[in-house]
């Protein structure tokens, strides 16, 4: 049985780390043993509790992009009935479906072996280092691209927002979206960040940093919501009380909302490599200090 205090701690941790490209699941598995909390990742309540927290995060994302989601849902139904894509909203809706299906299927088929990894903080630590490498590589690709453009004589603007060389989400091809969707499936491993891997793929595909984050958040919402709803019935007898569960989901949602707003503002001028260094450092600390 997880204590109420520990669940609220996990809620705050999950809220901060779910949308930052640092793997919330990796943090939930690595941080408690690293700071000496009395905690069993193999507890049957662990994954369902995380799922409740995911509902809070999904709620925050739905609220953050509420206008987008209304357009996306309407766009999906119109496109589905017409059998063709007319306009950016319908295109975005189909892209989100196409990008979500690979991770959904892989996650569903491999859920049991993946759950066993949740109990292994050292494996999660190793995956955190891999996650750092992915973020670092994506930034390296982007910088190389910027240098090439500068050498070719293209104007290098201070903000990507003004730069026509970098795309908005709607400019991505469906094929790229499918590839990003398969990358997202890799984030089912604890330590590999869903937002990180999709932002990295978005950057490599030519999105602006802020758009890569928006794409990542929109793509993550259906998966996070579905994971939360699917695990909810498994709370069972090890469940926290309803009040604790609601408080934890609300806390995770509030913190996730604040984190998303911060991250979107940060990525107008900032880059992913600070998160890469952080993931690598936490992973190394986990491997060294967790026995």
């Amino acid at each position: 049985m997880l204590s109420a205090g520990l669940i609220l701690f996990l809620a705050a941790l999950q809220g901060v780390t779910e949308l930052f490209p640092v793997s919330s699941l990796g943090h939930a598995v690595v941080v408690p043993p690293l700071i000496g909390l009395n905690f069993q990742e193999s507890s049957p309540a662990f994954v369902p509790v995380l799922a409740v927290l995911h509902l809070g995060t999904a709620g925050a994302l739905l609220f953050l992009y509420r206008r987008d989601w209304v357009r996306i849902v309407v766009g999906f139904f119109r496109a589905a009935v017409q059998g063709r894509i007319d306009g950016p909203d319908q295109r975005l809706a189909i892209m989100l479906i196409v990008g979500s299906v690979p991770a959904g299927i892989v996650g569903f088929l491999l859920q049991d072996p993946l759950k066993s990894l949740f109990a292994d903080p050292r494996a999660a630590s190793a995956f955190l280092i891999v996650n750092g490498g992915i973020l670092f590589a994506a930034e390296m690709f982007r910088r190389r691209d910027e240098r090439r453009r500068a050498v070719a004589g293209a104007p290098v603007l201070a903000h990507e927002e003004d730069d026509p060389a970098y795309e908005r989400i709607e400019g991505l091809s469906l094929r790229t979206t499918v590839i990003v969707g398969f990358f997202q499936a890799g984030a089912l491993l604890p330590g590999i960040s869903r937002s990180g891997i999709t932002m990295a793929a978005g950057l490599v595909a030519g999105l602006r940093h802020e758009e890569a984050a928006r794409f990542s958040f929109l793509l993550a919402t259906p998966i996070i919501l579905a994971a939360g709803l699917f695990e909810l019935p498994d709370l069972g007898s090890d469940a926290p009380t309803l009040l604790v569960a609601i408080a934890a989901a609300a806390l995770a949602g509030l913190v996730a909302y604040a984190s998303a707003r911060f991250l979107l503002r940060y990525l107008r001028s900032g880059r992913l490599d600070p998160f890469a260094y952080y993931c690598a450092a936490l992973g190394v600390a986990g491997l060294v200090f967790i026995r």
Binding site: A80, V81, G83, R84, F108, F230
Partner: protein, 69 residues
């Protein structure tokens, strides 16, 4: 995008298979595609229901359509 009748038919056939899987998982106790003892797997059923709907939508996209004026 030009439509393809064979692709649309293949996607419809896939939708039928997914629909049968939906009914199977909603009604039969099984351990097929699942671990543990045989039981009703309503989560599997919901996943296959969603896949059925997506396959129908994909078939609608794939079918040849009259050119727009």
């Amino acid at each position: 995008m030009r439509g393809s009748r064979p692709l649309a038919l293949a996607l419809l056939a896939l939708a039928v298979i997914f629909a049968l899987a939906t009914v199977f998982f909603f009604t039969q106790k099984t351990s097929f595609l699942a671990s543990g003892k045989p039981e009703l797997h309503w989560k599997h059923a919901i996943v296959f229901l969603v896949l059925t709907l997506l396959a129908v939508v994909a078939a609608n996209f794939a079918r040849p359509k009259p050119a727009r004026a």
